[in-house]
Amino acid sequence: MNNTLSESSATATKAIPLSIDDLTVAYHRKPVIWDVSLDLPAGSLVGVVGPNGAGKSTLLKAVMDLIPRASGRIKVFGESYADNRGRVGYVPQRESVDWDFPVDALDVVTMGLYREIGWCFPVRKKHRQAAMEALRRVGMADLANRQISQLSGGQQQRTFLARALVQDADLYLMDEPFAAVDASTERAIVDVLRDMRARGKTAVVIHHDLQTVAEYFDYVVLLNMRVVAHGSVKDVFTPENLQKTYGGRLTLLDEVTEAMRHQRRKL
């Protein structure tokens, strides 16, 4: 990509939402990702693509200091993550959420505002209204008071998307927001992502469906423990090669499994 962006001028560095230099993360001394160096352009939608176990989630968690790193430097808008926490929004992977927690969709979205509300201050009407507005934007207004395990997979994902929206961050890290969602949720997420980009925000999205990478993202990171390639989708993303590696996707199977899982949850 554009090397002049990296270290040359301090002002340019400031604008880079996420700059990773020589990052290595290891679990029990076994490296999960190594030697990752990236500079992501501002105001773009970045897809992170790679097979299972490639370290995609690990990369996002390392950025947010949630797991220790063996080596490397990470800069968020030119400063350490700790200094810029408020500018980073996170959408966790579905599997990592405790869906039996006694909260409803509105509660979850309101959590995105806790930072703004501040320690010990109560949630006020205007905060609830803002959260409601975000839920409305993702088409979830009717389900605001439903406990989160009673939502479908797509609705759960929309809830977390709404939470990211109220956070009003500048850099979003999303761990597989498109995993096992229905078609209308997928569209809703894409709309929100594009809207974010239009407002100059950057989203780093772990993505599995290779067929939609070119459509959804401007920039792509191909990751398999190390960065295989990164750059604009046009330059580095060659669908034919990737198609062979990953094979087709059987979305309808996902759907019936989801329907069965949901039925069982109600039992």
Partner: protein, 446 residues
């Protein structure tokens, strides 16, 4: 006489009040332990405050003193810290590292107490179940009224814990639900964790003397876990846990006085009975909870089984009609074909008739038009799935039927349409059977 209880307000009243305060103060914090899946850490802390108590006693030489309190709280928090540390060190998981830390510390505490038994007015038995019965004996004057010291201490702790939960409600909720967001919002999840553990330690120490260890351990976990079964709203859960803790304390004391008498014994330890009562309450919650309860779950499962059986019955009749076989069957024929029990078939048939989907003339069961529609959709789902599994998912021929048989019950019109579209409206399934066409409802497009 079943309830041969001689209730004395100035004695039993104080005992029950002490029990309620101990139970409520523990239950308040326990909600967040249960939600964080850390109930055992509460146990660990309340056990490991013992060496702190003993050591502080040896150093200061007094009981009921501030140094003793600080010493115990310090060791309690140390437990939480050591647990994290050991887990971080190597391959030991959280449960094991907790087990290592608190058993070692608890044993150390016991050794210290036994060693100094001649000088210490703390006996190992008291450690377990406390001396709640002696609560009314040790009183302090409060505005001219004699109030038991334990009630004052526990009252203060209850007030602190209530204030903590009210003031940090939002922070506790977030750091329990999503530590990552909590930390990135500047509300350090780690700090909340240790704040909570400090209060657990304080609660454990305050309850130690009056109600002993068993009750703290029980009350930290059991009432919140019962409340968790009963609701999916956090404020309701907290309120319920307080109510159930109170109930357990009252029932526990009454039980301690009454139950042993039934068997000709003298009254037993109140603290122990309070814990037993909370366990019984938990059992009731487990059985009758509205959504997660065993009874409701059982009914739902039966209901699902019956509705699947109904599906199977109409589908069986439909397939017979297709093959021009006699389209009426007897009840016992159904039992044989579907390998179902007589009762299940009986209930299913009653339900199908109730819905007007089958008719029953002299035990000859036949489909009505409405039942035929339902069956057609099912058979359509089944064959579409077989097609999809064979052509798109490359499933083995002999596994097709079994999978489709399961999927068909969970496949609605929308999913059928998607299947149909995905495969360009196939006319036959892999076995060569015609896929029936769905009857369009009046007024629906598509």
């Amino acid at each position: 006489m079943i309830f041969a209880i001689s209730w004395n307000w100035s004695l039993d009243g104080w005992i029950v009040l002490a029990g309620i305060l101990a139970a409520v103060s523990a239950a308040l914090l326990g909600n967040f332990l249960v939600l964080r899946r850390m109930s055992m850490l509460g146990d660990a802390i309340s056990h490991s405050v013992l060496p702190g108590l003993a050591a502080a006693f040896f150093i200061s030489g007094t009981r009921n003193s501030f140094p003793m309190f600080i010493g115990a709280v310090f060791v309690g928090v140390l437990t939480a810290y050591l647990t994290q540390w050991i887990r971080g060190m190597g391959k030991v998981d959280e449960g094991a590292s907790m087990g290592v830390v608190f058993t070692s510390l608890f044993a150390l505490g016991l050794v210290l107490i036994v060693q100094g038994a001649d000088r210490v007015d703390l006996d190992p038995g008291c450690v377990l179940y406390g001396a709640i019965e002696q609560t009314p004996l040790d009183q302090v004057q409060l505005g001219g009224v004699g109030v038991p010291r334990a009630v004052v201490t526990l009252g203060i702790v209850t007030a602190i814990n209530t204030l903590f939960v009210l003031l940090f409600y939002k922070e506790l909720k977030l750091s329990s639900f999503d530590p990552a967001l909590s930390t990135s919002s500047g509300l350090s999840a780690g700090l909340m964790h240790y704040l909570l553990m400090t209060l657990v330690a304080i609660t454990a120490v305050a309850s130690f003397e009056s109600v002993g260890n068993i009750l703290v351990v029980a009350m930290l976990v059991v009432p919140p876990a019962s409340a968790y079964m009963l609701t999916d709203r956090l404020p309701v859960m907290i309120g319920l846990s307080v109510a159930l803790a109170t109930l357990a304390a009252v029932l526990g004391h009454l039980g301690a006085m009454a139950v042993p008498a039934w068997f000709g014994f003298e009254s037993t330890t109140t603290a122990g009975m309070m814990a037993v009562a909370s366990g019984l309450i938990m059992l009731l919650a487990l059985a009758f909870a509205p959504r997660h309860g065993i009874v409701v779950k059982w009914c739902n499962q039966r209901w699902l089984a019956i509705s699947i059986l109904c599906d199977d019955i109409v589908a069986l009749l439909y397939r017979r009609e297709e093959r021009q076989l006699p389209c009426v069957v007897l009840e016992n024929e159904l039992c044989r074909e579907l390998q179902a029990g007589t009762w299940s078939i009986y209930f299913s048939l009653v339900w199908l008739q109730q819905r007007g989907e089958t008719t029953d003339a002299n035990q000859q069961i036949a489909l009505t038009e409405k039942g035929r529609d339902r069956a057609r959709n099912l058979v359509r789902s089944h064959r579409l799935w077989e097609n999809y599994l064979a052509s798109q998912a490359m499933v083995d021929g002999n596994r097709l039927h079994g999978l489709a048989e399961r999927f068909e019950h969970f496949t609605g019109r929308e999913l059928r349409e998607q299947l149909d579209k995905e495969m360009d409206a196939p006319s036959h399934d892999p076995h060569g059977s015609v896929i029936p066409v769905e009857k369009r409802e009046e007024g629906t497009s598509l």
